[in-house]
Symmetry: D2
Subunit: 442 residues, 4 copies
Amino acid sequence: MSSLYTKRAVTSFSNLLKSRFKIFSDPVHGFISVPRGLILDLIQTPEVQRLRRIRQLGIGYLVFPGAEHSRFGHALGAMALMHDSLLALTEKGTEISREEHTSALAAALLHDIGHGPFSHTLESNLISGFRHEAMSRILLAELNESFGGRLETALQIFDGDYPRRFLNQLVSSQLDMDRLDYLRRDSYYTGVVEGRVGVERIIKTLRVHPDTGGSEDRIVVEARGVHAVENFLIARRLMYWQVYLHKTVIAGDHLLRGIIRRVRMHLRNSDSALPEGASPAFLFFLENDITTDDLDVADVRNNYCALDDTDLIYSIKCWRKSADPILADLCRRFLDRDFFRVSYLDSQASDALKSIWTDRVRAYLKNAGLSTDETLEPDASYYLVFDQSDHSAYEHVENSIDVLQRDGSLIELSEAVRVSAIAGVSGRETRPYICYPKELGD
Amino acid sequence: MSSLYTKRAVTSFSNLLKSRFKIFSDPVHGFISVPRGLILDLIQTPEVQRLRRIRQLGIGYLVFPGAEHSRFGHALGAMALMHDSLLALTEKGTEISREEHTSALAAALLHDIGHGPFSHTLESNLISGFRHEAMSRILLAELNESFGGRLETALQIFDGDYPRRFLNQLVSSQLDMDRLDYLRRDSYYTGVVEGRVGVERIIKTLRVHPDTGGSEDRIVVEARGVHAVENFLIARRLMYWQVYLHKTVIAGDHLLRGIIRRVRMHLRNSDSALPEGASPAFLFFLENDITTDDLDVADVRNNYCALDDTDLIYSIKCWRKSADPILADLCRRFLDRDFFRVSYLDSQASDALKSIWTDRVRAYLKNAGLSTDETLEPDASYYLVFDQSDHSAYEHVENSIDVLQRDGSLIELSEAVRVSAIAGVSGRETRPYICYPKELGD
Amino acid sequence: MSSLYTKRAVTSFSNLLKSRFKIFSDPVHGFISVPRGLILDLIQTPEVQRLRRIRQLGIGYLVFPGAEHSRFGHALGAMALMHDSLLALTEKGTEISREEHTSALAAALLHDIGHGPFSHTLESNLISGFRHEAMSRILLAELNESFGGRLETALQIFDGDYPRRFLNQLVSSQLDMDRLDYLRRDSYYTGVVEGRVGVERIIKTLRVHPDTGGSEDRIVVEARGVHAVENFLIARRLMYWQVYLHKTVIAGDHLLRGIIRRVRMHLRNSDSALPEGASPAFLFFLENDITTDDLDVADVRNNYCALDDTDLIYSIKCWRKSADPILADLCRRFLDRDFFRVSYLDSQASDALKSIWTDRVRAYLKNAGLSTDETLEPDASYYLVFDQSDHSAYEHVENSIDVLQRDGSLIELSEAVRVSAIAGVSGRETRPYICYPKELGD
Amino acid sequence: MSSLYTKRAVTSFSNLLKSRFKIFSDPVHGFISVPRGLILDLIQTPEVQRLRRIRQLGIGYLVFPGAEHSRFGHALGAMALMHDSLLALTEKGTEISREEHTSALAAALLHDIGHGPFSHTLESNLISGFRHEAMSRILLAELNESFGGRLETALQIFDGDYPRRFLNQLVSSQLDMDRLDYLRRDSYYTGVVEGRVGVERIIKTLRVHPDTGGSEDRIVVEARGVHAVENFLIARRLMYWQVYLHKTVIAGDHLLRGIIRRVRMHLRNSDSALPEGASPAFLFFLENDITTDDLDVADVRNNYCALDDTDLIYSIKCWRKSADPILADLCRRFLDRDFFRVSYLDSQASDALKSIWTDRVRAYLKNAGLSTDETLEPDASYYLVFDQSDHSAYEHVENSIDVLQRDGSLIELSEAVRVSAIAGVSGRETRPYICYPKELGD
């Protein structure tokens, strides 16, 4: 990565010794040059440094041993790709001011700042109705204040309010820097080479198209980039089914959700099953019914920012010693990676199937001494889940990608290739499954 | 790569100093251990060494500057992957004898031995009705003779006659070592990262399925390998449109075919337009009307084996000095990579369109002093082509891949995923195009 | 990776469905096949799973953002390379029994099991005189007991007592699986490509040499592997200065050690400066003067095994809120990566220099309101360190690598090349430095 | 790669459709953007296109099967790295005019344009006293003329006459774009991963230092780049011994030189041993005693430019059928890669050793029916060579690399690290060897 916007005049050689950039060694994109000033100052904030303590793939590292990377690297990476994209667009004649350039970098860097620990698993479990984008927005506004309004344009870009629409699109669209970075990055750390996206090729074929009818310009892909974008969509789908929705990841999700539900039960009962020592910030969210309307409350914000992977793992280590055999077992299973099994079903589970499995799980709980509950009904719910995974590879309507033809006309990507590989993946895929203790056999 | 079949007893330390393997450094698969004996002896034959002088992608190196690799590396690579596959199958309980192992290696090594120079362009232009597989078969049989029958089993595997069908499939099927290697290898040398196939993952999920009904066993893919195979099919399609059928590659094809057609015309006319010095082996095929029935004739075989990229390039360098301005121009264009332009058409060209372009090309030839022919009709045919590219990503019927489910049942790959990415690419894609001198503008 | 030791007989097809291996996707070595049975069972133990919560490079992830990988991946990797090495040696005629094979795998897997959190920084700070190898030995012995003695041979190999010395060497020597894996792995995650070691090449050139004079055989490198080993030594040195002893890593080390020293002071004083909530396991080691003689005590062992990165980070987050401004500042600096600066000195610091800097630091502490201590003497010690880094690339005497010449004779590596690159790096390098708050300028 | 020098004003959208860059897909550096205009026009010249037909490593592809890459890719790569370096220097405040930028790109692109086929083997064998730089200079001057003087500055840079010395250094010095590219590239194609140089890191640490005493500025390396440069020197040494001076490469060199010497003998004798059909351009150099003084002669220049790998291989294929058994044997050995063996000697061969081997080779020639010469003396010289390889890793004096310290002072690299790895490799290494037919045993 390299900056286009460098002052040419150099007053004295001593200045030369001070680099205008701090360089980060990133195994995915190589060296990332971060301009000193606003961008580097943002990186030094506690809000951004906190991302170092939140794993990008949540439970994923328990399935792909190499995927222990944090959201910090992703934030840097998205910023680096934003820089590359702006440079590529400039090469093709799009004027981008220095202010726009810095703001777009800031927006890319901070786009995920509102993520919490294991957020794909926990998002709506900790705060009802929560989506991390809302918290990102709040933290971005706060940073803007503490940086004296210098993030005003970045905020507009984040909100989708900036007049030059293409900058918004680079931050949030079907083909944004977020997706380009996380697919490439997660492929690198999981070792799933098939998910490797040709990021460089895609960026080289982006253009800004001045929407002739209206006032807005937007990102389009040149015709020669069609196959690279197709491949991006396919790779994304593959990463979903192979990594993000991997059956063992789902099994881990259910364990973690079970732990939280069980702890909440004990907190409600005010019983003595929870050992001392769990993280206060974590307990704050388990004891109170926080909803998405409370995000602005100082206490909520502060406890949220205090929370990271450390708090969760540390608390689960405490609860492993719980007197409640079920909570202790769920925590042990999580920490020692003794996960449930997830098996796909051909169709949604029938009541008969559910009933058979409920009986099996009840028997298991009794034999294993995990439950003394007569009915066993509620306890069984921690050990047996019927649910489904789903994923959409591509949405035609909301967020389409247009392809720029040689003659200057635009067509939607799915029409850009006659017999399209995209057609096959544009619908929604749904896979029902059952999740149960491995001990019950197949 | 490593061999399973090593003698354990070591008689003396001096023997230790002699390695039982010769190691090749392959940038694609790392080190390739070639067992001394039959396999290494085969590699040393002129027939296999000749592959060093035949580029894997023919004209491709003129479009992808890194793709200058020869068929020799591919032959080694296919052999290496065969070894890895046999090892993986053995790990899963399939017994493979030492004889079968060596024969399968030989078959993989020699499967492309009948390829000639620029064969994807020239195959049927040099020998009418020719397919390289036929020549591979002939050379394999000859080698079998000179190696005292030690390639008998390899021949059976090549012919598809070996009882254990899975060995045949590893040599020739939808998912054979040939495809696995060439996709991975061509991706490496072209720099088209999107074409990178997860070869290791695929090989790890292969199994031999003992066909319960009949006597034959065959290769199946375990359920967990489905996404890797899907990705393989998508990557293959991508490589076709992005590399093998790249518009500039097609433009080069037409140049080369034009040169050959023009030389044949002069040979027929016995005129003086052809400078001395072109390769006799090349001329042999241009002067005589060799058909696929003549492959067994000693002269044909010998001239074929004498022919490599060197002969073609060298001859084209000679003809560049031809008194025939058209031949000289075609040769210059080829050598200096001043190719025609290929543009896709929305549909098959109408007669009207053809007529307009024919007039434009005639005018071009006249102005450029390339043709003095009154009618210009035949000359124009070298500078204007209407044709189409087509490619099938996957054929359901003939050569299906079966997936082994957890319950032991088999289903066809295209059914193994509910909403399939494959569905979109299984049909035949056709793209009509026009090919013409760049000088004529868009 | 692939196993040599597979049963060939398959009784029924249903067996076929159960894989004899569990496959881990490792981004560094590709797929790692772990044999079911002892090895997989070991991986499932809490002792090994705990390594998932201990970062391989300790503080390194705060300098190289990608280096967030844990010791778990390294343990798997060392085991995978052991398998590859045994296979390579078998190919060259060395007989290795199934028992030896499994035991060597176990020894490689467990060789680092005694590591604690941030152990390169903390090793002797938590337990005086501690070395992780001693704890590895204890845990290995415990596992042996709980696995009914099946780790007896592994223990012998670990201890260097197994008669076939080459197995010991693969676990612990100048060129062991530990080093081969961690260099390759740390290079992958830091993005320091220059540290990339040609592991495959080195393994391919190992041999077992039957020491003619004595009873022991040992690992030697074939002559053709000399350059690869040279490169390994150079890469190792580079990784030391560029990564492990990176100036910012050292700055982080001093912060962490300062925190621990400060907390100990408060614990000794029994004052109220420490907020509640820090990890009991961590406090156990801070409150008690544990020495290396206590490792066998159950309490020590249990608290040690309960300790991981989570405990340290979580505790530091607690202490960040300490009433002691110095402790709070050190913790903040650690968490927000506001490290001290480390500058190399041309020679050991003179008393005059030390005195000047001590005055500067005292003034800084006073102005920043960090210290109210009259003398400031002890407080300054947290903010000013004079020390040195040192590293030995290669030790001739203790642990030499021998090279096997074509004639069967052995010579020491440093003699194997006439003008040696090794000569230049074999000595001990020492670099004195000063560590101080950045706020004090250059 | 990306251009800094782009016009910002865009007059109309139709212009947008025409890219100002042509993009090459390079597997080594990714996408290379070539600015349309002078640079792209230069690439289209026959002089540059000719480099596509000259392998970068000459005989190397017969030892490393993947190393079939041509000098064309290297020319592009050196140009790409030049662009990256200029951008990095600009970021650090060095002003570079558009004219200088384009000229430096041209100089990097054309720096090797004078190379001939197998030039490391043949350079002085075809033209006595020849060095390719002299021919590069002549062709560069010719291109300058045909491009109307637009290469004037490039010529100055090539000649080392341009006032801003750092531009010369980027083209030709210890750390120039040529070396950075060829090491990285040859490592990629040979698969010798140890030779992989951290090109990106080195470029990021380059600076222009304004020589305070004089008028010239020059390239220096920042202190933090020291280890990367050390590693570059080590990697270069490794590549020399492992690749460029590989024993089998040397064996191939001797074969090729033997063929040329033998053909010259027959041409001198005007006998009938040479079959018709060899390349006239090649014969031109074999028949005439061309010296380095003749380079300006049109005939010499034209024949030189007509010559590429094709001519040599094609001619050797002709001579394989020679009636002279020795020439036929040498050609067969070359084409079928049946090379001689090269063994290192502990010291220069004694006369006694030479005499023993001469007898053995004479006997071999007689028995094999290769020679009927009574004395056998001259014939034996084709089959037995005593010579030596040598290589200097680093020259302190002539072409030193300076390191820029934090305080602004410069020190020579070899002093920049106290105990230097460089010290060990700075001297000249010499390895005497013997080269003889494998059939003679060890």
